[in-house]
């Protein structure tokens, strides 16, 4: 039997293709071009080859912020994913409480990044902020502006407050998509709650969790505004993450060459980690 393949539907992708070319591919090419040159102004640029890459790869400041970035993204995923699943499992499924909890959960996601930073900046202060004041008055010595551990704690807490909702909402929608028949079968088998979670809910949540993990990884890996507003990267450099180091380099010192080289390395890291995540999970699926 001869089946005529019609591939003309691919033309429908053209607008997206053009948009991505304009917004991503061409800028990326420009960054590559910048990364191999020493640029003084529009007409004066010297080709320096891999010099900037060498400089950036051996820069201890970048090693430190890369390490901090991985610790931060790792902690964000370790906290937010289990917490999001737990919240989604405990949310009511019907009635007005379901709608109310959905709205409550969506609120943090609607607040702009710099406002989040400002909220926590005030909230955590020992003199006028409720959180900082309360901690200090029960005897905890808490000051996010001078103690690196407190700063880390506050930045993490802020991110968890801001983004756990996203994971919870994704998981909630995933849970609602599980047909009732699975639960009925589990009841007939007298499966425990844990068994239901482990063998029905968790496997069915896998696809939304992949999206959740990817989104949270990429988002936390490029976090900029919130720690910038909250701590300004301090105390010292203790909460200066990759994107802030990069901005200091590109905008602050106007070192376009090294900044371009660095952002390409940044890009390669994100590409590798995201690809690894995605491939591992999709191939786990196939193996079954």
């Amino acid at each position: 039997m001869n089946k005529v393949e019609n591939n003309r539907a691919w033309f429908l992708v053209t607008p997206v293709f053009l948009l991505v070319a304009f917004s991503a591919v061409i800028p990326l090419m420009t960054v590559v071009n910048y990364s191999v040159q020493d640029i003084f102004d529009q007409n004066t640029a010297y080709f320096v080859g891999a010099e900037w890459y060498r400089e950036v790869l051996n820069d201890p400041r970048l090693h430190d912020s890369l390490l901090r970035q991985f610790i931060f993204s790792g902690s964000v995923l370790l906290i937010e994913i289990p917490l999001g699943i737990a919240v989604a499992l405990m949310m009511p499924t019907r009635g007005w409480t379901a709608s109310a909890s959905l709205i409550l959960l969506a609120i943090p996601l609607l607040i702009p990044w710099n406002v989040i930073g400002t909220i926590w900046q005030v909230f955590g202060r020992a003199d006028i902020g409720l959180f900082g004041w309360a901690l200090n008055s029960i005897g905890v010595d808490y000051n996010y502006a001078s103690n690196p551990m407190d700063a880390w704690f506050t930045v993490l807490l802020m991110d968890v407050w801001h983004w756990t909702s996203l994971v919870a909402l994704l998981c909630y929608s995933g849970l609602r998509a599980i047909p009732e028949a699975y639960y009925q079968a589990a009841r007939i088998d007298r499966a425990s709650n844990w068994a239901i979670f482990r063998y029905i809910q968790l496997p069915k949540l896998k696809s939304v969790l992949v999206i959740g993990i990817l989104l949270r990884f990429m988002d936390s890996f490029m976090i900029y505004t919130e720690p910038f507003v909250l701590t300004g990267g301090g105390p010292g450099n203790s909460t200066t993450f990759l994107s802030q180091t990069l901005t200091q380099m590109a905008i602050g010192q106007f070192d376009l060459g090294p900044a371009a080289a660095f952002s390409l390395i940044y890009f390669l890291i994100v590409l590798l980690v995201s690809w690894l995540f995605f491939t591992t999970i999709t191939h786990l699926d196939k193996a079954k």
Binding site: I26, M29, T30, V32, N33, Y34, V36, Q37, I39, Q42, A45, F47, G49, A50, Y53, R54, L57, N58, I265, L268, L271, L272, W275, T279, H283, K286
Partner: protein, 90 residues
Amino acid sequence: MSWMAWTLPTAIFFATIAAILVAMTVYEIKSPCVERKGFLPIETSRGDRLFIGLLTSAYIHLLYVGLTEMTLWIALAISCVWLFIVMRWG
């Protein structure tokens, strides 16, 4: 195009990548590939192997630049051999 600050090496680089993509597309239309298992731990299609090969080549270059002062042509040669190995047996 002057704001993009093109240089000859980067132009050659992107032209090569574009040429590889076009060639792979034509090859795929002429003889569609099937996923298979080579020495890589997962089943891969031709495009997967190209992506893996190019991404690892980028890391080979970074490692090379970070650790040695020698000419990049050696890194390029290593990458080409590696890309061939991945495409052929990966």
